[in-house]
């Protein structure tokens, strides 16, 4: 099942009982942010929300929490909505290996239906709203931002599709936060070294797969579009921008074309971040918008951020686990699964077979030295292969029964972490922790006589099946 746009995915969600329409009139603030916070509080099976009656708008529509539950994540992948998380992970990891899948190029897209190049006013087209009280304005934080490497403009793989927070500062003016280590940070540095503005296209309200891949830690030369093709199992459809060489997701609801102004910074933020804390105001770059394209009655899709659980726990979940898993596997084929679902992998749980005492600690250290681990993996918990790292009850069992605090904790001092981690001091530097929660093995002295595990009675799997059938009768 391939979704070419957000609308067809919303139809699927509704068909599966995973979309709630809110038809009563709501205020942009504080209703929309509050509702998005509330739906995240309902648990990991929660629906997406679609609002169509927003005070001050005739036809304004806002979609929230589109990826924000395990059923929605499974449906994004075209899987049954009750697919267990570990199975979603393994299937995503399998498809990831099919990269690259060449794209499908077309000449026109639904968003060409409406075009504005003069007297642009973002507020006329998008029902923009403040997400959290102390945000410095209305933010667009779930849009695909597309840019190219100006030193190598024809390199398709170096074209980047990423999600970056965008503060709406005026009718045709945005602030952007390009982290230097992210691909767009590299593109901006190159543009500024050349003394040129950086052209960008911003696609708002896309199909669910490209939004997932745009939030994935791909390498600099990997194409998000060719990876989206791998994940959806069919070539990804793109259309060339009218005023630049940028390629845009065909199904986008709204597309903004503009450029980041080179050599200029302006106050941006604070903003309630995915860490659940505000990141303070900083002088950051500005985007001047030059054209807007949009479908009839466009849908504004946005993302609520705050303390977990939020939609971030799903949209940067499996897509963060999988590259980490593949990189770990290269060094340690014993690795079974990786759960880096929380706060983009600031904490990671790895399940692995172990060959001998101390093995798990080496796996933990490798996680911290992967490209993603340099900015994340502040705490790595390593569990046995028979522990499902997505089953937190099992993980807590491993922590509580396998860990001897005098033997199983390894602290790496003054390591690197992303500067948004509120506990880092100075921002970007932190001690890191490996917790070895695997069963001790020789030559560790505990390994010789460690208390044997209670194996499940022989027919447990058979009985699971019987009981499920009885329950579903």
């Amino acid at each position: 099942m391939v979704y070419r746009d957000l609308r067809s995915f919303l139809e699927k969600l509704e068909e599966e009982g995973q979309l709630v329409r809110i038809t009563q009139q709501v205020y942009p603030e504080p209703d929309l942010g509050s509702a998005a916070r509330a739906v995240n509080n309902l648990g990991d099976q929660a629906p997406a929300l679609l609002f169509n009656n927003i005070f001050g708008y005739n036809n304004g529509r806002v979609a929230l929490n589109v990826h924000g539950s395990w059923p929605n994540h499974a449906l994004m992948m075209g899987l049954p909505k009750d697919t267990p998380v570990k199975e979603q992970f393994l299937e995503f990891a399998r498809r990831w290996k099919n990269y690259p899948v060449p794209v499908e190029r077309v000449d026109t897209a639904p968003f060409h239906a409406n075009q504005v190049t003069e007297n642009i006013n973002l507020f006329d087209i998008l029902p923009l709203f403040r997400l959290n009280r102390d945000d410095s304005g209305c933010f667009i934080d779930k849009a695909c931002v597309i840019s190219r490497d100006l030193d190598d403009p024809d390199h398709f793989g170096k074209q980047n599709v990423g999600i970056y927070r965008l503060q709406v500062k005026g009718k045709d003016r945005l602030g952007i936060q390009p982290i230097p280590t992210h691909d767009i940070g590299i593109h901006l540095r190159i543009a500024e070294e050349r003394g040129e503005n950086l052209p960008v296209a911003i696609a708002i309200g896309c199909d669910p797969v490209i939004t997932t891949i745009a939030g994935s830690p791909l390498t600099y030369e990997q194409s998000e579009y060719e990876m989206a093709g791998a994940i959806q199992g069919e070539p990804y459809r793109i259309v060339r921008a009218k005023h630049s060489n940028l390629d845009i997701p065909w199904g986008a609801e709204v597309v903004l074309e503009g450029e980041i102004i080179a050599g200029y910074r302006e106050l941006e933020g604070p903003f309630g971040e995915f860490t659940g804390s505000y990141s303070d105001a900083r002088h950051q770059p500005v985007i001047q918008i030059k054209a807007i394209y949009y479908r009839d009655n466009p849908i504004f899709e946005n993302l609520y951020l705050g303390m977990s659980p939020t939609e971030m726990d799903f949209i940067t979940s499996i897509n963060t686990c999988v590259p980490l898993y593949h990189q770990l596997k290269e060094a340690f084929p014993e690795v079974e699964a990786v759960n880096a679902n929380f706060t983009q992998g600031l904490i990671a749980i790895i399940s692995t077979k172990t060959r001998f005492g101390g093995f798990a600690k080496a796996v933990g250290m490798r996680a911290m030295t992967t490209p993603h681990g340099l900015g994340y993996c502040k705490i790595v918990i390593v569990v046995d292969d028979f522990v499902d790292p997505f089953n937190l009850s099992q993980v807590m069992w491993a922590l509580s029964t396998r860990v001897a605090p005098d033997k199983d904790l390894v602290v790496i001092p003054n390591a690197s972490v992303l500067s948004l981690d509120p506990s880092s001091e100075p921002p970007g530097i932190t001690h890191k922790l490996i917790i070895d929660a695997t069963t001790p093995k020789a030559p560790e002295s505990r390994g010789e006589e460690f208390a044997p595990i209670v194996e499940p009675p022989r027919d447990t799997v058979k009985w699971e099946k019987i009981l499920k059938e009885l329950i579903n009768k």
Binding site: E29, P30, Y57, S136, G137, P180, L188, E193, R265, L267
Partner: protein, 76 residues
């Protein structure tokens, strides 16, 4: 005249009005880039009730980090 709730500047301007006329007005502050809507709670719109933790002093803008640093132009 409207005062910026965040930096107390009086240079604020109307950013836009609601597409359905008369529902709300968006304001913006060119000094600190803060924006707010006339219908928001007082903790946002009233300078005296704005969260002191995030007030901005226009005479002390240099204390905020430049992020990312502006790359030096290459020599041609």
């Amino acid at each position: 005249m409207t005062t910026c709730p965040r930096c107390d500047s009086n240079e604020t301007k109307v950013l836009c009005e609601s597409p359905v006329k008369g529902c709300w007005i968006m304001y913006s502050c060119p000094v600190c880039t803060f924006t707010w809507r006339s219908t928001e709670p007082e903790a946002i719109t009233n300078p005296e009730m704005y969260n002191p933790r995030f007030k901005v002093d226009p005479s002390d803008m240099g204390k905020y980090q430049i992020h990312p640093p502006i790359a030096q132009k290459r020599k041609s």
